[in-house]
Subunit: 338 residues, 4 copies
């Protein structure tokens, strides 16, 4: 829609798994008066789309998807892209322990609502040790246990199979000190085809020192687009280690700093770069109530979605018209050349 | 300076022909208090710089220079670039003939000041036939004839040799109907080394129909970074041809539409995309009095220079912090999962 | 509505002639969910309302109505008012004669649509002598003649009686050189009660020199909230007299400068202060298509209506919160007093 | 200066006690190039100035001074004023006790720097009971004791005599429960003429319940433009009483809420209206480092000083020019009247 508002003629391609939804959306728009020729809609595999882009050479391509394809497109299109790529989103619980029930509920929703299939889902939870002493983890477990297939509070995972999630979990559990907090098992009594995933909401604890080891970091920070999160804890003296971890990740989409201590917030926000960062006791990584800018930061190619500013950034560009009608001063004479 | 204002640590590289100037500029800044470690300055050839960029992987590279290198950099740096590339800048004189002396003087300055060595120099002049009937061309000739080496109103051309300019002129004069309006000869009695260019201010007329032919278009719109311009004319009925010519060019830096007729201005500005366009009787392509945005348009990678908005576009990015301190409502209870 | 958006609790009073309309509007709002206690609505005469204002001492009063009451309120409320007072709105036709039919139609609508009962209605038309030579006036007459009671293109005048309009016209016709251009007669065959006005669309010509005379100026610039306008003409050399006339009026609501000559527009706009001024060939005094700021200018108490900026100006105020959470530098020590 | 930037021709009047300073300032401006005719400067008593204002009928008057004169001017000038009137500025210390030395020093500076002669000086300090238990008050006393005439950290009071300050203090001390915290005596060994004041930095404690009594409130909240403040304390359960006190005051210039608890800040800021409010542990009432908006809030006539927004509010007004050059559509025909 943003592309249209700015006067472009967009070509739209969505993942084939959801193209039936977009098809209906477009028909709805046509019904509401959108001229048929204003948007082109293509259903194809990525290879064909890539060929189309290379030949059509569009002025701008907005890509939402995996980092791997994003990097390839940036080269193929010589930088005429904006990217809203993968999200491995973290949440930090600060030293001030307050409103335990509320925060447990937000964590559960951030990690497992829509079965974790949001690019803003909470993937890694850093708890201050003050929180480790509370019943937060057991509350998280209780909330995860409430979720069931019957009311679709868990459901099929579109892009990761059960087996690959299990394999990922097993690899994580080989890290010394790591342990399964809850979940870790396939859903039972379902008819979800095996090309989709079907997992119980899962959390795996990994010690902070192990996360930071070069051999583990990439594994721990791999995005699983399903009901899965990593949990770890830290002492006040380890905050700089946590900040290092944030710096080493490269998908800076959303983040949450759960604390009402302004100095703690300043320190974490001032040393991280996620594009949409929520701060304060009620911070979440996903599903914020108002429609604000949504996109990564720290990358010149970062796209934004949803707000007027984001739409202008991606779908328009600055152009400056300077009007100078005169008049020429009455006694003007030709000055010397320069 | 913009990169610094936004809190970056820039690495600066300039063309080796002018690096001595930048060296002095930096020393001046250091004298004024710039910390030594805030800017790195490198003197190297382009190849070495390219290697450095690939290895350092900077978050953003602002490139000012030729389109060829710009396209290579966009690929090498996977789109983390902003470009302010070549300028082949046009001026259109509209149907309303007014203030002949003033407009002749602006044309002379736009094309030949600094010996035409500005990326905003006027390279192609479209005259409405009403102007062809005036003495504008003879006035342009008189103004060009005033320029002389003695007072540096003409001078050495840093990046194009005399021979390549002469060769370019000769190729243009082979186009049917084209003719030399003035200039076309090397400067005399000078000590400019042959690695630089030394030409009299030159204008070549090429008929509009010939410009539009596929075999001529690229030749006519080649940027000569020296005291050189193409001149052509058009009838009212040919305005759409002129607009087609603008659309076919691909370096959309500056432009001028010289007219005080709002409807004419609307039509030309509404159908062209140059980044910095001057409109009105006193329109120029270069040297505008105030410090406004300066950069190309119509390309997602287009850089801007000089204004706060341009600096933010190139050297910063949007980041959104949403504060939500609470309070959690007094009687809040855990809602169902979703 | 603006007062509500900004979080105020407004008390609403409208003229008793239209209070039945506002009553229904409020009921509609209540039906749409407006809490009953959010707006108070009072039906009273002005005297009672004045008493209420003095006792309630509201933080802000927005007054739309006559200048006389406006000045009284400004004193009574010690300046806590914003005023959108009477409009005696002018239109100037510039020297460039173009699109005669179109401009005649806009003039007719501006002066006589809604029987001239809009505070933005055209009350005084300055024609450049180039327009006097055209058939504009006869076209205006034809357009006025189309209007009839049957289709309500003329109708009752709520605040001025037929007799007072006739008396005003007669006084104007006593000015030397003035003449009735068209209209000037009561409507016929109607059942409009005599407390309302019922006049044919009327235009009276008064020579510019006569308008400027001290004894005539106030009479000529009296606002008649009905289907009535003054017409005059001017030579190019008299533009400064026209500008003087604009300066002498004191209700600077809307205005129109009908010309596509940027230099003429600059001169008139630069020397007048009306709050909402339309410029260009299609300029009108009323009924502009988009919802823009609407209000007088040049008076610190001037209100605006309709736009976010206007709403903030009238119904909110600037307040600045400076957050300084610290931290206090580690080695901070108490400095000397100052 | 703001009035000048916006293109007005201001008439400047300052208190005769400081007119010699402004005289020199103007001469400096003239030396720097200010045209002599751009500003008029008048030295007169208030009565003469009032007469001048009534006769000249300026478009805007910015008044800085007492509330009494402000109200008179608002009536005399029929609301064409902006007021930056008296400041009786409060500071609230919240429940979180931190950085005692720092906060004591800020309180001392806010109340007694320039001998308290700033319209933003701290006049009333509300301490949370957690602070009463600390050594804050004794630190305030120590800091006040450091101040001496020799280094001008106390000095003459221009507008209040020693006797009237002593009388004010004595009246306050008659309130049950009130006591002198420190100061309360005239300066010694000085040559300050008796038309000025000469007092030691003084603080008087008054219990919160007594402040709120109708018979005391006006006395306690009387602004003393000198080195004087009221101190009181409150329990968490009494915050609403404190907020009531803020609401009852009518000069809402500056304020400070000293706390790093976001929920406490929200509550106090959300229920008060001071124009320039500082929040956070380092909050002050005066002398903030950056040049921000400075002015009262909650009054439609409130002026602002110092920022571009303030200058535009006071010295300019909104004016909207809508350009509509056309073109008129090709097949346009006169539509029916409306």
């Amino acid at each position: 829609m943003g592309a249209l508002y700015m006067g472009n003629k967009p070509v739209l391609k969505v993942d084939s798994k959801v193209s039936i939804v977009m098809d209906q959306m477009l028909r709805l728009l046509h019904n509401c008066g959108l001229p048929l020729e204003d948007v082109d809609f293509i259903n194809s595999d990525g290879k064909t789309m890539n060929k189309l882009l290379l030949e059509a050479n569009p002025r701008m391509t907005l890509f939402t998807g995996s980092s791997r394809v994003a990097e390839k497109l940036a080269v193929d299109l010589k930088g005429r892209v904006k990217l809203e790529d993968a999200g491995f989103d973290w949440k930090i619980l600060g030293p001030d322990v307050l409103q335990e029930d509320y925060i447990a509920w937000v964590c559960d929703q951030d990690a497992y609502a829509c079965s974790g299939q949001k690019c803003s889902a909470q993937s890694l939870l850093f708890m201050h040790e003050n929180w480790s002493k509370t019943s937060l983890l057991s509350k998280l477990k209780d909330l995860a246990d409430r979720r069931k297939l019957a009311d679709l509070t868990v459901g099929p995972v579109l892009t990761v199979t059960t087996d690959s999630m299990l394999e990922h979990i097993n690899k994580l559990l080989e890290i010394p000190g790591s342990k399964l907090l809850f979940g870790g098992q396939p859903l039972e009594d379902h008819s979800i085809p095996p090309i989709y995933g079907a997992m119980k909401p899962t959390a795996v604890y990994v010690p902070l020192e192990e996360i930071m080891k070069a051999k583990n970091f990439e594994l721990v920070t791999r995005e699983i687009f399903g009901p899965f999160q990593i949990v770890t804890d830290y002492k006040s003296s380890q905050l700089s280690v946590v900040l290092d971890a944030l710096e080493r990740m490269h998908n800076h989409l959303t983040a949450a700093v759960v604390s009402n201590d302004p100095l703690f917030l300043q320190e974490v926000i001032g040393q991280s770069v996620n594009g949409t960062a929520y701060a304060g006791l009620r911070a979440r990584t996903t599903g914020a109530p108002q429609n604000h800018w949504f996109g990564p930061a720290g990358d010149a190619r970062g796209a934004g979605i949803g707000t007027p500013e984001a739409i202008k950034l991606v779908w328009s560009c600055h152009r400056e018209i300077i009007y100078d009608f005169g008049p020429v001063p009455k006694n003007w004479e030709v000055p010397p050349s320069t």
